[in-house]
Symmetry: C2
Subunit: 295 residues, 2 copies
């Protein structure tokens, strides 16, 4: 089975997991739970749960045992998109071909459902920690690292600086690196490590996975920006040229420079795996996919 | 020393703790951290950390060992107030005599800083769990209960129903009970139990503290509504008659009926403590203060 076909099978499994791990339809209050399901089950490439499951397998764990945690990181991602789209932030009208959450449910419900989804993610990680027998220190590390990835030193910080500098012509490479490492990189790093953390992996293993995931995350984001600049709506399934005027590695270095950088990051990601004493073929292939993809 | 004087001393200790447990001023990105400190250090009666510390002492623990957790529940409360005040929700202009966070920093920064404060709270509970040697199950229970208290089955759910029914004349007792038990009660219950949970208390102890805190929380909220209806701005230090048109126990049962209900809840809170085999004098006094207070 080729890698693209395997990814499709993974995505089908993940869509079912994402549905099953949410509060069921009709839970009270119904509108909040409808908004949660609308944002979390509205499609997407599901790269984060794919990464979480590939990491679990690489370490010899059954990914089903860590299903709640794989869902949790995707819910955190969905939650952040709801906030990014708000009128006070990017003021986006559509996402993945449908009205954004605040357009479908109103701004207040969008904000509340984003927070609810985030809280649900933390509950799932805690529950999963009990299920896999995580000790106190391992669970504390997992929770603390996830909270840090989302908060002011992570995605919130990145989004804030992105909003502050958005459209400014003078954004430096350092600013773009900060924004992308926080908005995208932080959650990738936790996605790559959190299962290992709950299962009590060594600091060396966690460090190697973190370095791998950080590089993969940045490469993934750069390719997103390249596709936004080069592709068309039909291929991509979403509006293109969304980043015009926003500082990215494409605006700073051109498409060629950005592509070289992404390729280098994938090499760095593969090198980081070299210290692991397990078969890392699947993770290496996943890193390659992140830059070779065309949508 | 009388109880009122003791509360003042507790509040002074708590204000220092709340400052010390936040990221320091000037942390990058500076505006987010300024907004976090503005909302968390802007005053308030600090009833939640007072309750957390009183519970710790009652169980024989040094409250300083659980300081991060006591701060965490207050930060969660502060975070929820920032969202409640937003233009899309209560559209409040001032809180505690100062511009609300969104008026001082803008809507986007208010939303992001509220999320950052919430994430900081979860990080503190996890860190505190390691410090007190909580096992995996105890820490998971603490995190899960805190997340549930904030999310769609807790404060978010309560706020959503409050916004849906706000100003509707036909709100029933059941709706008001739902809103108050979720918006206020949920976090009181976790505040009363989370330290005990981290310290490995029995289910019986946790249950008694939960029942106590649930009743105290509802009594506290009812007295807030009575003071809003009866007191004046000078005594209360904030605008009054904010709830005019909002369904509360005062609008449903009148001031007399609401006062009787609060007194009954305090009796129930004291009764719940009866199963604990420790000196509960301080918690009983705290319950009494919650209804006897005049501001």
């Amino acid at each position: 089975m080729d890698f693209a076909h395997m990814l499709e099978e993974e995505r089908a499994v993940i869509e079912r997991m994402l549905d099953a791990c949410l509060p069921p339809e009709g839970e009270f209050p119904p509108v909040i739970h409808e908004a949660i399901r609308y944002s979390a089950l509205g499609g997407g490439k599901r790269i984060r749960p794919i990464l979480a499951r590939a990491t679990a397998r690489t370490l010899g764990h059954d990914p089903e045992r860590l299903a709640k945690t794989a869902c949790a990181v995707e819910y955190v991602h969905s939650s952040s998109l709801v906030l990014d789209d708000l009128p006070s932030m990017d003021n986006a009208e559509t996402r993945r071909g449908r009205p954004t959450v605040h357009r479908a449910f109103g701004v207040a419900t969008a904000i509340l459902s984003a927070d609810a989804l985030l809280m649900h993610a933390f509950r799932l990680v805690a529950e999963n920690g009990i299920e896999v027998g995580a000790d106190g220190r391992s669970l504390a590390t997992a929770i603390s690292e996830l909270a840090t990835a989302v908060g002011s030193y992570g995605m919130v910080g990145g989004q804030h600086v992105d909003l502050e500098t958005g459209g400014l012509p003078g954004a430096t490479v350092e600013t773009v690196e900060y924004i992308q490492s926080k908005k995208t990189g932080s959650l990738f790093v936790v996605t790559g490590t959190i299962g290992a953390t709950l299962m009590g992996a060594s600091e060396e293993t966690r460090g190697a996975l973190a370095a791998y995931a950080r590089n993969v995350g940045l490469a993934y984001q750069i390719v997103d920006d390249i596709l936004d600049a080069e592709s068309d709506t039909t291929t991509l399934g979403k509006d293109v040229r969304q980043d015009a005027g926003k500082p990215t590695f494409v605006t700073l270095r051109g498409v060629g420079g950005a592509r070289s950088l992404a390729a280098q990051l994938v090499e760095d990601a593969r090198s980081a795996l070299g210290t692991l004493d397990v078969d890392t073929t699947a993770l290496e292939a996943l890193a390659g996919y992140c830059v070779d993809r065309v949508c």
